[in-house]
């Protein structure tokens, strides 16, 4: 189990158990859970709580890990809140191999930097993409649509236009 000292808060949300830990303790907490039989990382993602000052979500980025024990069928959600620009958190891809791509996706979409990740590059967006699409201050429809009659305009880089 997670050592009690690492747990900041715990509770149940709509039937799902969750615990909150300090971001710097995520690797230790997940290692503890893995030893306890939670060997499947179902998914890993991030939630952007931009401009929300409620006590429920104390920092802008919430990194969420959903773990499952295939023997007891138990599930637990581990969450860690991080701020800063760029936000940093330890990678868990050494504990759970599927986290490799999930962390790359979270980096690609939210700009969360996973320290000690073997290959932290964009996975869904092109390598030269600017910005992190799933952040809440990234506008929907903010991308210019490229029409062939304007090709001279969109072939010029925006900073040189």
């Amino acid at each position: 189990m997670i050592p009690e000292a690492l747990v900041l808060a715990k509770g149940v949300s709509a039937g799902d158990d969750w615990v909150t830990v300090e971001a710097r303790n995520v690797h230790d907490a997940l290692a503890g859970l893995k030893d306890d039989g939670y060997r499947l990382l179902t998914f890993l993602t991030c939630v952007d709580h931009l401009a929300d000052s409620s006590a429920q979500w104390p920092a802008r980025y919430e990194v969420v890990y959903q773990l499952r024990n295939l023997e007891t069928r138990g599930q637990i959600r581990v969450r860690a809140f991080i701020g800063g620009e760029p936000p940093h958190i330890d990678s868990v891809s050494d504990l759970f191999p599927p986290a490799n791509w999930e962390e790359r996706e979270t980096y690609d979409m939210f700009g969360v930097v996973f320290d000690n990740h073997p290959d932290l590059t964009r996975i869904l967006m092109p390598d030269d993409w600017v910005g992190y699409p799933l952040r809440r201050d990234y506008p929907v429809g903010g991308e210019p649509v490229e029409f062939s009659e304007e090709h001279e305009r969109w072939q010029t880089a925006p900073d040189k236009a």
Binding site: D16, W18, L41, Q56, R77, N100, M125, Y138, V140
Partner: protein, 408 residues
Amino acid sequence: MTDTVAQGVTITKTGETGAFGGELLTVNFGPHHPSTHGVLRLIVDLDGEQVKRLKPVIGYLHTGIEKQMEALRWQQGVTVTDRHDYLSPPINNLAYALAVERLMGVEVPPRANALRVIMSELTRLSSHLVWMGTSGLELGAMSMLMYCFRERDTILDMNEEISGFRMHTSYIRPGGVTADATPRFLDMLDDFTHKMPGNIDEYEALLTHNPIWRQRTIGIGRLSAEDAKVLGATGPMLRGSGVAWDLRRAMPYSGYEDYDFEIATSDLCDCYGRYLVRIKEMREAVKILRQALDRLPDGPVNVDDRKMLPPPREELETSMEAVIHHFKLFTEGYSVPPGDVYVAVESGRGENGCYIVSDGTHKPRRVKFRSASFVNLQALEQMALNHMVADMIAIIGTADTVLGDCDR
């Protein structure tokens, strides 16, 4: 480092020496290769014809579905969930609908649950049929595609009958289903459940003992049970490695605990094992359909909650309250209590889940789709190492990834 470009394939010499004294070459496959089931790109290091390293490159079908969900009201999001795993729309709807219902504390009526099970199993069948048809095509059994698409078309006809759409049905929505099953739909389903076992016998006659099919799949793409678990594989990938894990049995939803069916597993751990698992799953799906049809309960197919689902059309002409409810639902939508929830369902490919964070407003704060294809694809390198290039095609085929699901 010299690049040779022939027929669209770029080859780069790596400078490393292989086991047979030759040089390792880096070869790019795809993204627009017909055997990659969508637009998957693979960067492969080859020693002669043997795969020594393999790196999948994804993202070519990224459509920003999770971003779009944040801009849509709760009831509008259903239409977007159809479109990530485009071979199993009702199962995606179901994951989303169950997640929203759990946050709202809503239980759907028994008839809605039975119809949800029927649509899920029909979808599983149609998804496996597309898989079998295209995999057969790739591995030299070309007539499979004709046989499989014949039955798939029957399923699409049923989709059309019950929901009005052939593929992106949006049939299952939070609070119930869009419409009750018509008598014609039930007749079609009855007919289908009688004919389908014979059709599956036909597929087996074409493939199970087909020497070419067996040579192309037996012993190819081995994934041990331990590796499958470590790599997070789910669905037929995990069950094809002998692990009896099925969310319909392990964590039942929509009343699956009341149906009598077996979990299909195979200890072969190879491409042929995964094929046997899917054949068995198709037979079990027909069994579940038969049971659901035989004891389809009567009653409503939606929750009786005017704050969540619009009133019937006829009430609008006589009731002021109904007009207000209608207006509020279609301008503002409903709000979901704050909190987060994760619900997983078993799709044809494995665990397709939906993680929702609500901040109590009429739009979700975050919707994350856990897609089986995305996780299963990471096991590709493990399965394809030291196999021939042609075997890699068999391995991609039996992994059954849908790239729309993978990239979302």
